[in-house]
C-alpha cells in the first residue's frame, strides 16, 4: 500500500514538474522563432520617411504604387477561378470514387500526391515545353496549374469529409425518391460534405493567391511577383505588404477555425 501511494505521488510530481518546463521552453522557442521576426518586420514596416518616426507611410506608398490594384485584381480573379474549377473537377470525381469507383482509388490517390513530388519549378519548365501556344498567351493558363498545385490538399480535404458521411445511404435514399444525379449531388451530397468543400475552396484560394514560382517562371504578373519587383524600389513597402499578408492570413484562418462547425451528422438527422 505504502509503495503504491508513494508511487502515485511520484507520478503526480513527475506530471507537474514536466508540464511547466515543457510549456515554458516551447513558448520561449516559439517566441524566438516566430514572433521575433514577425514583430521585427511589423516595427520596421511602420518606419517613417528616412527611417524616422512611426507612420503608415509605407502602407500608403504601397496602395498608390503603379500596378498595385491591377496585380491584386489579377491574383484575386485567378484564385477565385482556380477555387471553383477545383470544386467543379474534384467534387464529382471524389463522390464517384467513394461511391462506385473504388478500383480507381489508388490511381487517383497517386495522381493527387504527384504535385507534392514533382517540384513546381520542373512543372513550370514542363508547362513551357508542353502547353499549346494559345494557352501560353493567356494568363488564364495559371488557373489550371493552381488547381494542380492545390490537388494534394483538396483531395485530402474532400476525401476526409466524404468518409464521415454515409454516402451510399444518402444517395440511395435520394435516388429512390426520384431525384436525378445532378440534384442528388447538389442538394444532398454537397450540403453533407460542406466542411470539406469549404476547406478545399479556401486552400485552393490561399495557395493560388500566394503562388509565386510557376507565375514568375511563366512570366506573368500577379500580386506576389509584383511585390518582388516593387521591393527593388522600396524595401520598406515590400515589408509592409509582407506583414499585411501574414497578419491578414492568420486573422482570416483563425476566425474560420473558431467559427462553430456544423458537422455532417446534423444533415443526416434532418433528412
Amino acid at each position: 500500500m505504502g509503495t503504491t501511494a508513494s508511487g502515485e505521488v511520484e507520478k503526480l510530481m513527475k506530471r507537474f514538474t514536466l508540464k511547466w518546463p515543457l510549456v515554458i521552453t516551447s513558448s520561449l522557442l516559439a517566441f524566438l522563432i516566430f514572433i521575433v521576426p514577425l514583430y521585427g518586420a511589423a516595427v520596421y514596416s511602420f518606419k517613417g520617411n528616412g527611417g524616422k518616426g512611426h507612420s503608415w507611410v509605407n502602407y500608403q506608398w504601397l496602395i498608390h504604387q503603379d500596378g498595385f490594384y491591377p496585380s491584386l485584381l489579377t491574383s484575386l480573379k485567378l484564385a477565385v477561378l482556380a477555387a471553383f474549377l477545383t470544386l467543379a473537377l474534384m467534387v464529382p470525381t471524389m463522390v464517384y470514387l467513394n461511391l462506385k469507383g473504388q478500383k480507381y482509388k489508388s490511381l487517383v490517390d497517386f495522381l493527387c500526391i504527384l504535385p507534392l513530388i514533382i517540384p513546381v519549378v520542373s512543372l513550370a519548365i514542363g508547362a513551357q515545353v508542353a502547353m499549346p501556344k494559345i494557352l501560353q498567351n493567356s494568363e488564364y493558363e495559371l488557373v489550371f496549374f493552381f488547381v494542380i498545385i492545390a490537388l494534394p490538399y483538396t483531395y485530402r480535404a474532400l476525401d476526409t469529409s466524404l468518409q464521415t458521411v454515409a454516402l451510399k445511404t444518402l444517395v440511395e435514399a435520394s435516388r429512390s425518391l426520384g431525384a436525378s444525379w445532378t440534384s442528388t449531388i447538389m442538394l444532398v451530397i454537397v450540403p453533407a460534405i460542406r466542411s470539406g468543400i469549404t476547406g478545399a475552396l479556401f486552400l485552393t484560394f490561399a495557395l493560388s493567391i500566394g503562388e509565386y514560382t510557376i507565375t514568375s517562371l511563366l512570366h506573368w504578373e500577379t500580386f506576389p511577383t509584383w511585390t518582388v519587383v516593387a521591393a527593388q524600389q522600396n524595401i520598406l513597402g515590400a515589408i509592409a505588404i509582407s506583414v499585411f499578408s501574414f497578419v491578414g492570413a492568420i486573422a482570416l484562418l483563425s476566425i474560420i477555425a473558431l467559427l462553430p462547425k456544423r458537422n455532417a451528422q446534423r444533415v443526416e438527422v434532418d433528412e
Binding site: 519548365i125 514542363g126 515545353v129 490561399a206 509565386y212 518582388v228 515589408i239
Partner: protein
Amino acid sequence: MGVVRARSRIRSSGRGSGVLPLLPFFLFTGFFLIWPVVAVTLRSFKGNKNEWTLANYRPILHSGPYFHAFIVSLKLSLITALIGSLLGAFFAYVIVKYARGKFGAVVDSISAVFANSGGVPLAFMFVAAFGTEGIVTKVLKSLGWDIYAGHFTIFSFTGVVMVYSFFQVPLMILVFKPAIAGLRREWEEASTNLGASAFTYWRRVGIPILTPSFVGAFFLLFAGGFSAYATARALTVGTVPLVPIIIGTLVDGNVISDQTNLGDSLAVGMIVVATIVMAGYIWAQRQAAKWRS
C-alpha cells in the same frame, strides 16, 4: 486488422463500374501534370540541333557549377529538414499534450499560414528582422552581440537556412501532430500497469510507434526544402546557388548557356531527387499506417 482488411476487400471487389465519370479528372491531370513532365523529360535528351543526346546531363553529373548546385540544394534541404523535424516534433508534442480546444485550433491555423503562405513575404520579413539594418540585428547589437561581425548575412546560406526553418517547423507541426495524437492513452496505461517508467514507455512503445511517422515527415520536409523557390529567389536573388534558382535564371535568360536545353535536364534532375525522397515518404507512411485503424 483482419476484419478491416476483409471489409475493404468486399468494398473493393464487385463494385466495378465504368471509368467514364472519372474521365474529366484523368484528362485534366494527364494534360496539365503528366504531359508537362513527359515533355520536359523528352526535351532534356535533345541537343541544340534537336538530335537525341545525353549531353545535357553531363554538367550535372560532373563537378562544376551545376553539380555544385545540387550539392548545395541537398545540403540545405538536409539541414532545414533536420531542424524542422526535431523542433517541430517537440512543438507538436507540447501542443497535443497541453493545448487543446480553441487555442489548439488557433495554433493550427497559425501553423498553416506559416507553413504554406511563406514564399515571398517570408523573405522580406527576415530582411526586416535580421538584415544589416534589421530590428533584431540592432537589438542584439545594443546587447553587445554584433551578428554581422563574422561572415553572416541574411542573404547567405546560413540566412536561407534560418528562413527555411521558419516554414519547416510549422509544416512539421501540421504533419506530425496527428501521429502524436494517435498515441493511445491505453498504451501508456498498459505499460505503466506493467511497471514501466515513463522513460521505458517512450523507449519501448512511444518512440518505436512514432518513428515511421517521423521519418515520413522528415522526407516530406526534405522534398519541400529541396523544391522551394520563391523564398530563396526573393531573398538572395541568386547569391546562393540552388538548383531551382539556377533553373529560374536560365529560364529568364539572365544566364546564357551554350546548351539550350540545360534547364530541362536540371528540372528532370530535380524530379529524380524528389521522387527518390518521396518514395521514402510513401514507404514510411505505409509503415506508420500499420498502427492506425
